[in-house]
């Protein structure tokens, strides 16, 4: 994994919440360790908690403990009108890492993943083949996190591995699956 070859690894289970919030977010800023006031299609990592802003009124919240997240976010938002839905069992995540990670994802994803367009801290809902995914790039290294629906996981994994085979002949490549 890392700078050599391609690694496609299932990630450990995580708590996930979908937050929809009608109010203007600028005045809230941060809710329970999740930064809401970030540009659309970016992510923010604070300790073990990660915020992904998918649209003007939609966020995905990640963290280790569902109960703590539910409590912290609800406490901050108070009596504002919002929806916080536990989607932890809806999605699964894969990590795609290595020097060919971008090429492999672009085998089925129409996003421009160049560092200028999709730098560290980018995240977006998009497609991989026929499956809807959320593609997250938390840091500058070539490591991408792919969130997909649980029932699409086999498809997404097979799709990625299929493309990864094309890069097997490159020096230092190998699939860790």
């Amino acid at each position: 994994m890392g700078e050599a070859g391609i690694a496609i690894l299932p990630l450990a289970p995580s708590a996930r919440f979908s937050l929809r919030l009608a109010a203007a977010v600028v005045e809230i800023g941060e809710a329970g360790g999740f930064w809401l006031d970030i540009p659309i299609n970016t992510c923010h990592v604070a300790g073990e908690r990660m915020t992904v802003r998918l649209g003007p009124n939609e966020w995905l919240l990640f963290g280790p403990q569902a109960d703590a997240i539910r409590h912290d976010v609800a406490a901050t938002l108070g009596d504002r009108f919002f929806s916080l839905v536990d989607v932890g069992d809806r999605d699964l995540a894969f990590a795609v890492a290595g020097i060919h990670a971008r090429d492999v994802i672009n085998g089925g994803c129409p996003l421009d993943l160049d560092d200028i367009v999709f730098p560290a801290g980018s995240a977006s809902r998009t497609l991989l083949g026929k499956a809807q995914i959320v593609l997250i790039r938390p840091g500058a290294e070539r490591l991408y996190r792919i969130e997909c629906g649980r029932s699409f996981a086999l498809y997404v994994r097979a799709y990625l591995e299929n493309i990864a085979h094309e890069f097997l002949r490159s020096p230092g490549s190998g699939i860790l699956a």
Partner: protein
């Protein structure tokens, strides 16, 4: 393949979008008092413009928002893209 300018996400592939047809078609405000002909015009009659055409798109595999664009149906060039704002969000 079209590159569609989403007002929230920037230019994205057509694959991520769903087209909602012609924009700015107002629903009759009083359906009970609307005759069949007027109702049929609302539902089915479209301008089929040759040239610059206002249409709606949904960025379904992206930010999930509807927006309006003006597209030249001859060249397929997108002229402008505008957010659709609800009364709640203000303008």
């Amino acid at each position: 393949m079209l590159l569609i300018p989403c007002p929230h996400c920037g230019p994205r592939s057509e694959l991520e979008f769903h087209c909602g047809g012609e924009a700015h078609i107002a629903r009759p405000t009083n359906p009970a008092a609307t005759g069949d002909q007027r109702w049929a015009e609302y539902l089915f009659y479209r301008s089929n413009t040759k040239g610059v055409h206002a249409e709606r798109w949904l960025h379904v595999h992206g930010c999930g928002r509807w927006f309006n664009v003006r597209r030249d149906t001859i060249s397929d060039r997108f002229v402008t893209a505008d957010q659709i704002r609800s009364a709640e969000e203000g303008s």
